[in-house]
């Protein structure tokens, strides 16, 4: 498709969608959201870009092959599960690290759960995009 309105709109939309997808990913920790929905939103962002500017540009904007992104995501998710071994817990037990925690402030929580969510985010993003891109290119 070659529509100036869409291309101009896409520039704005794609950025918003990607930022919003990251917001959803982080927010999902305690509220509705999470890696799955975040990954879907990011995928939609790239799909909009692909519709507006073509899959070749979208692939270039993505930088990595979608399937490799999914593979890396799966690796991160597995890593998050295996990391429990360091603390001697069973597979996929959530581990927490509070950076700069003081007595009044909980600090900045980092957890394997978040790493798992990032993995899910990448898996969903990569899987959806590899399907959508190949469907687009087959037409």
């Amino acid at each position: 498709m070659n529509s100036i309105i869409l291309i101009a709109g896409a520039r704005l939309l794609v950025v918003l969608m990607l930022v919003f997808s990251l917001f959803m990913l982080i927010r999902g920790h305690n509220e509705p959201g999470g890696g799955f929905i975040g990954g879907l939103l990011a995928a939609i962002g790239f799909v909009v870009y692909a519709i507006a500017c073509g899959t070749r540009d979208a692939r270039r904007a993505l930088r990595f092959r979608p399937s490799s992104i999914a593979g890396t995501g799966l690796g991160l998710a597995l890593l998050a599960g295996v990391m429990a071994a360091i603390w001697g817990d069973t597979l996929f037990t959530g581990q927490w690290l509070f950076l700069g925690a003081t007595e009044t402030d909980k600090g900045w929580p980092l957890s394997t759960v978040l790493l798992f969510d990032i993995g899910v985010y990448l898996v969903v993003l990569g899987a959806i995009l590899s399907i959508v891109f190949s469907l687009e290119e087959a037409v």
Partner: protein, 497 residues
């Protein structure tokens, strides 16, 4: 302890991810082989611990049973994990000679390792819904492997395979839903205790039938087997060997697990049906094989008839019969995977798997002929090979339970199996090749990688056959655990209050 349980799962998954990220690169096959070797070591370690300490259980994520996902290994689970790892290792070697570059680029090694992870997960899980998830992992990976290469025949077989397996999955899932509605739990150990308290036991039998049909499709029993011969002869040989060895056996394992632990409330009804299924499965499978003229199609039909024997062991539900079923499972996986691997070598040497267009293998490659005879005779039940003991125990069990007719069928089907095996022998090995005067094994590329796993599995068959004592004792202990799941339940839920 729980890490020992999760390692056979983590290793194939990690290998799959690594192999996926380097797919198309020549290192993929080495990653796959290394991963399989490590997984084999982990499986051996698991079996050692289970042999010493009895049933072990681990709660994933630290969520206690029955709320979280439990991994459990009793003797049956542990030995199935080990045999899966052995098959995977053999096929990973075989893949060096069988899987071409194009299939590697499409991600063969990643799919293969994912499939192994799925199979292992199904054997290790102690949670019904988790079992469903592993079935799905297996189904997705196996579908990918089945159509890898994208030939017309493969797509045709793949569609049948997926359609029927989806029906099975749907029934299984509905059964899970109903069971959860009745008991409020999906943990197998918890279920085993709670099913007794359900007021309406008739409803439980109805759910049992849903599970029987669902697993029956997976296990390819009569009359639900027709997807198997339609699809197993289409993919590459390494793939069909893994499928033939492992996939249907996961269905059989699930059936054994459910119908000894959960659905043992009305044995007179459910297990009589299983007995009939076993008889029909044995007979139709072997008759189907007799009518075929393709190496792999004959073997595919024989999978079905052999499944019948395992179901027979389950249906009789005596300690001796279950011993036979466990023994048969282990023996069958080794022998069947081996026969499919041999079919691959024979096809490479002669140019086809169509028995009427090939021949002359005995004259050109006597080594392959010997390697074929071992699993073929073992399948038919010749002493002193592993199949003899497996069949002997099951026939003895049916005689003890006074099911004379079943014993007769089991023996007759064994005889018919010899007929099919001699057919392959006469056509592929004995008669001269119709067109090519000298089909030569030494012209096959990578024949070392192809012959090594075949020889290794044949040696395993011989060892089980010549020295069956420890294996029988092991199977007896596994059967005892199946009949009395107290140890299993205690390991998962802790000692009874």
């Amino acid at each position: 302890m729980s890490w020992l349980l999760s390692l056979p799962l983590i290793i194939p998954f990690a290998t799959a991810i690594a192999a996926f990220l380097v797919r198309g690169h020549a290192s993929g096959r080495w990653i796959s082989l290394t991963g399989s070797a490590i997984a084999l070591a982990a499986a051996i370690a698991l079996l050692m611990v289970v042999l010493d300490d009895g049933v072990i259980a681990g709660q994933m994520g630290g969520w206690p049973a029955p709320f979280g996902i439990t991994l459990v290994a009793d003797l049956l689970s542990a030995v199935m994990v080990l045999i899966t790892a052995i098959t995977a290792f053999a096929v990973a070697i075989y893949a060096f000679g069988d899987i071409d570059r194009r299939r590697e680029e499409l991600g063969y090694h990643a799919l293969f390792q994912t499939l192994i992870a799925g199979v292992t997960g199904a054997f290790l899980t102690g949670d019904l819904f988790n079992l469903y998830v592993w079935f799905e992992v297996m189904l997705i990976a196996s579908f990918g492997m089945l159509i890898l290469g994208g030939e017309k025949e493969q797509i045709d077989g793949g569609v049948k395979y997926v359609a029927l397996n989806l029906v099975s999955t749907l029934l299984f899932l509905s059964g899970i839903g109903l069971l959860y509605g009745m008991t409020g739990t999906l943990n197998l150990a918890d279920l085993a205790q709670k099913v007794e308290t359900i007021p309406n036991q008739g409803l439980l039998t109805a759910v049992a039938m849903m599970f029987m049909v669902g697993f029956g499709i997976k296990a390819a029993v009569f009359p639900l087997f027709f997807w198997l011969p339609a699809s197993y002869h289409t993919p590459s040989f390494a793939v069909s060997a893994v499928f033939a060895g492992l996939l249907t056996k996961v269905g059989v394992y699930a059936m054994i697990r459910m119908f000894t632990m959960i659905f043992d409330h009305d044995i007179g009804f459910t297990h009589t049906i299983l007995l009939w299924i076993a008889g029909f499965t044995m007979v139709t499978g072997v008759l189907g094989a007799a009518s075929q003229g393709d190496f792999r199609k004959i073997l595919s039909f024989h999978i079905i008839s052999q499944i019948g024997y395992m179901i027979l062991g389950l249906a009789l539900m005596t300690p001796l019969a279950l011993l036979g079923a466990v023994f048969y499972l282990v023996h069958h996986i080794i022998v069947k995977a081996n026969l499919f691997l041999i079919a691959g070598i024979a096809s490479r040497a002669t140019g086809s798997t169509d028995l009427y267009r090939i021949g002359g293998l005995y004259a050109s490659s006597p080594l392959l002929a010997v390697l074929f005879l071992i699993p073929a005779f073992s399948l038919a039940g010749f002493p002193p090979l592993s199949g003899f003991w497996a069949k002997y125990v099951l026939v003895k069990a049916s005689l003890d339970a006074e099911f004379w007719f079943m014993a007769f069928i089991a023996l007759a089907v064994g005889l018919m199996t010899i007929f099919s095996m001699t057919k392959i022998w006469a056509e592929a090995f004995w008669k001269p090749h119709p067109t090519n005067p000298d089909p030569a094994l030494d012209q096959v590329p990578h024949r070392g990688a192809l012959l090594l796993p075949v020889a290794g599995l044949a040696v395993l068959t011989m060892v089980i056959g010549l020295y069956p004592e420890p294996f029988v004792v092991f199977a007896e202990r596994a059967a005892a655990q199946l009949l009395d799941p107290t140890a299993y339940i205690t390991a998962v839920l802790g000692a009874a209050p």
